[in-house]
Symmetry: C2
Subunit: 260 residues, 2 copies
């Protein structure tokens, strides 16, 4: 796809590959307000990961004309499940995190999502009203997005943050200027099984200890996240891990043979 | 001012020339949510024109950390009073109005406001929750702004619209790319007294009739709005009107003298 048509039907169909994921939301009203904010920007796919409340009358009242977004909501237990099929995951975060991660502003976030959404589903993730996303959740994201708010009072309401980010996604979709990427990146579930494979291998070779894992996996996630391995590259990395584990097994086998 | 510093103090002081005007708001909660949306974007000056409700506990609850915006609110009867000192007034409007008027998208609105706010106060105006701004109110604005929402559901909540527009004003202020205009435009009260003078003159010369004014004044407002007279030009126009009225008076006097 070399050019994104600005006809409204194309825009709406393009935006059908975007999901908004809310993690651990506590107020039913916020879920409704988020649904309304999304639909006004043409984004219909809402996922609740581990919600701390149910969708109730208050949600429907605040959703107003976006009842259908609530009726078609997907509810899962964890962020990992919510984004398993996504090739790009961007998490909302405050600027000054202890975790240094590639940061985007909302405009860049809209353009980044748009450049990849012809390829696979993409997700933008919003955390709990009081505490945002946990560090583990933030590490499931390739990028973090931060709204450059007033430093003296930067606390946007959840639905306001969703409105602002969805507005920039829509603006990117309406403009013809974003060039789609050619690379195909692995979806989130594939990346996560690579990390699980990597961790398992590091345990096996004794590089990390299960009791004291330390920061090694976080640092490796940061490294690979920065590199964003493509599908073929990820296959190579997986191949190396498999070979490593086989060598250990053979060596153990050899040792066992020697002893016998 | 040739360059807008991106230091946060300069941004906040620049934004102190922006006012958000809400016309005929009916829900106290919306006033609070608007205050919060404004403050997160560094805009503190809220004006209520003819509010249909009081600021109450619900307003304060939803304002959250933006209590000070509500405490410093200005309340006036009409939009005309609210924007009397403003050199630029932009009104929020749906796209398909019967009144054709210069239209901006939110990004252009942010840039336009920023280019003029070093010169005088500027205002962005939002109408009633159900019916928006009246045609008379829209005619007090030099530009209209429309959020390019989903054509199938374009109904943003009032505070969401304020959040989106204020976000773009802040983004314009944070960028160094907007060039301030050199022209000085008359403030709204001066423009309005020109229109009053013009109408009075047209009545006197018999071009329009008080009983059946028709669309003449609306069409003239549209014309002059498109031209955006500068201060000196407005003085010339006022001078012409004064001379016209004096000529009529003299002629009436001459006729009276002839008769005597």
């Amino acid at each position: 796809m070399s050019n994104i048509s600005d006809e409204s039907t194309s825009v709406e169909s393009l935006l059908s590959n975007v999901k908004v994921v809310l993690v651990g939301t506590t107020h039913p009203g916020n879920i409704g307000s988020v649904a309304r904010a999304m639909k006004t920007m043409g984004i219909m796919d809402l996922v609740l990961a581990g919600p701390q409340t149910e969708i109730n009358d208050k949600s429907y009242a605040l959703a107003s004309g976006a009842r259908d977004v609530l009726e078609n909501v997907t509810i899962v237990d964890t962020l990992q499940e919510a984004v398993a099929d996504c090739g790009l995951v961007i998490g909302s975060s405050a600027r000054s995190r202890t975790l240094p991660w590639p940061m985007l502003e909302p405009r860049g976030c809209g353009e980044k999502l748009l450049s990849e959404l012809p390829n696979y589903p993409v997700a933008v993730v919003f955390g709990r009203e009081n505490s945002g996303l946990s560090n583990d959740e933030l590490q499931l994201c390739q990028f973090h997005v931060c709204i450059p708010a007033n430093p003296n009072y930067s606390s946007l309401n959840l639905a306001m943050a969703v409105q602002t980010i969805c507005y920039e996604i829509r603006m990117a979709a309406l403009s013809n200027t974003v060039t789609p990427v050619q690379e195909t990146y692995p979806h989130s579930a594939k990346l996560e099984s690579f990390y699980a494979h990597l961790e398992q291998t590091l345990l096996k070779i004794g590089f990390i200890a299960k009791a004291h894992p330390g920061q090694v996996m976080t640092k490796l996630r940061r490294l690979y996240n920065r590199a964003r391995p493509e599908d073929v590259e990820l296959n190579i990395l997986r191949g190396i891990l498999t070979s490593t584990q086989q060598s250990i097994k053979e060596e153990s086998q050899d040792k066992a043979d020697d002893k016998s």
